[in-house]
Symmetry: C2
Amino acid sequence: MANYQQMKLFMEPESIAAIGVSRQTGPDAYNLLENLLLYGYAGRLYPVNPNAAEILGVKTYASVADVPEIVDLAVISLPRDLVTQVVRQCIQKGIRAIVVVTQGFADADDEEGKRLQREIVNMVSGTETRILGPNTFGVANAHLRLSTSYIRIPMEANGVGTISQTGGTFVGLTDVRLAGKVIDVGDACDVNTVDGLRYFEEDDDTRVVVLHIEGMTDAKEFVDTVRRVALKKPTLALKVGRSEKLARAVQSHTGALIGSDLLWDVALRSAGVIRVNDIEELSDAIRAFLRLPAPKGNGVGLTTYTGGFGIIAADACCRNGMELVEFSKPTMDALSALLPEWLGVGNPVDIWPGVSIMGHPRAKMETAALRHVLSDPGVHAAMAVISAYQPHLGEEHLPMIREVARDFPNKPFVYFMYGMHFEEVRTTLESTGTTLAFPTPDRAARALMHLRRRDEYLQSQASRHAS
Amino acid sequence: MANYQQMKLFMEPESIAAIGVSRQTGPDAYNLLENLLLYGYAGRLYPVNPNAAEILGVKTYASVADVPEIVDLAVISLPRDLVTQVVRQCIQKGIRAIVVVTQGFADADDEEGKRLQREIVNMVSGTETRILGPNTFGVANAHLRLSTSYIRIPMEANGVGTISQTGGTFVGLTDVRLAGKVIDVGDACDVNTVDGLRYFEEDDDTRVVVLHIEGMTDAKEFVDTVRRVALKKPTLALKVGRSEKLARAVQSHTGALIGSDLLWDVALRSAGVIRVNDIEELSDAIRAFLRLPAPKGNGVGLTTYTGGFGIIAADACCRNGMELVEFSKPTMDALSALLPEWLGVGNPVDIWPGVSIMGHPRAKMETAALRHVLSDPGVHAAMAVISAYQPHLGEEHLPMIREVARDFPNKPFVYFMYGMHFEEVRTTLESTGTTLAFPTPDRAARALMHLRRRDEYLQSQASRHAS
């Protein structure tokens, strides 16, 4: 077990010994030292390699014993047979945080791997030294421009804190970086998910906590800890093993048991953790929690450029636990004034005739309708259905969107956008810092739903506490 | 009702009268004539506008009566009160295909709209003239560089034929263009979905048929027709109205009833139509049917660079109706030879140690493993889990992927790829023409499942026919 101060040595080291750094450099060399220099990590670096006096201009030491300070963190990337000996040197040196990157311990299929793992666990037992791994990418902290992964990763200090049982999370997902800060517990021989939670609970840089869980040795301690964390920060879990068949068929690659999926479901929900079904739902929910206010009710108002896609979006809202509300009389009147007389106004409201027939400029029509919809007391969130049929938005569009967000700070609005120029227009829209765009209405509605459910959870906990 | 020859006038016109084209041009003018010139449509164009002698250098006529030929197709975009009179002129002229773009007919909330719609229906009744619309974008045919939508759309002659009750489909989805050819039936006063099906059934350009359905007046005729089409071509339906609440709350914007969702489900499945839940599933399935062979069984083989994401992918396969098979002895032996001795080989197979420890170049390791997996007689499809941590693939990578596809023409392989450079690497991978990449394993597995299920359907129909 590691407390917050010990975890800080892993997550916020001021000095690192990189043990087993190669002299090879370049894109396919996976050189940790080269990566850290490229990121611009500002801490002190000590490469250790008995066959080099310097690597990339950095003085290199034959052994960790020769390093002229007791570094905060040692990262060991050596063939597995050499690891125990170096772990011993680190302990003797007084180093208190060790990442063992090397594979082939509990994750190996032979007895030797399990024996080696027991050996390093015994070595640190009773000492002040903690080991993260083996079989791990280690840690990343984009706030310090640091990653111990040999794979080079993007640095985005985005408020996401991730604890995973795989290094895949270092690279991140298509739409979101998971490595604002990340801890890969790997084979979790010593430092584990609970230790990671203790760090993120206290860490001011982290606003959303993400868990990738395959299995857990001490489920009770985990649930107690995560319940506490989830009261402070949105906590999302991708718990693998929905399929019973998989749980039986695939032994976890880190040696932990997958466990009963239904029990996990109940345990996570009762602890206030939001369990997501797949990485797309995870990605969308993270983005929502980082960016949007929580809706204070289920009511959604929809504006659309095509009746058909408006109905598709309405359907998606209803299927994802949100509700299409009837607009109030003042909202209807305000919308009607922008549209042809013959057009029945409802929710969704079709705004295209306001452009094509009434001649309102697109940006003005879009934001005026959004504003009227958000003004409705029954509307707690809005979704705008727009088409990315051209790559640009008008320049006057963005300030108008920012103003809507400023005037409705407690009501999120999102875009369901279709069309080939999705990526360009999304980048532009999201540059406002106040909204998100999704390529399907289901994803947009589900993101709103997660915001809403967390708000409900916090309220239920607050009222339980008060009563 | 329109037969194939009549539908060809709409879909493959050699001459078009554009009635109500404005003199305004530029991006916000939504000028049909300008669009057609920009697309490079090669047919003869006759703008009709009483206030102009020429528009964009094209001779312009005061009335459709003045146009010097009986055009194949007339497109009417005028205020609704002027439409009936012009429809009459078109009929008198002998024009047999009319698109009425104008809104405010059955889709309007007033009596006048419904009266006007009855009027134009009565006019064409018993004549050889057919009307598509009103309240429609009309038709698009990227093979002829033609679209009657005032919104400018991308032209991609991709084998997709779409029939929809909205113009949203003209713009297309984020990952796929729906308008290889598209028919927007709009208010469907005359030409309807069944007529569209008759066209796509015969049309050699169309390899995948896509239906966007809100409701239908003659469900029996539709089901009989679509059953025939689905035997010839993969036919996908986005039937709106999954949520009962929505079906009650939202009256369809085209005036058609949404109908019982469960009945639709049964009817579509029995007719061999693949019903998709949302536009993401639609988009992924279209891409799969355009690109990949059908797996001849449920068995999937997985290669991965990280154990954790491999398990996530395995989970996704099982949840989406595919199966993780045990590799045969020869497959295991071939994979083992590429990997460290201590690594247990299974499905998924973790190939990263082949790169990091055994020193195989990434492209070679990836395609060699894929090849071994696809050689396994129990494997009917493969999924490769890779990370897009850098924007490029090696140049030698693409020919190797093409060769794998060439050597296994009856076994699809797809990529689940994560990381910030997803879009760049996907574009590169898919440029091979032989594979698809998805940002989540669920989407990849679901696409394989749709290919598999259709193959099963065709086989069941063939054996029923044979017995």
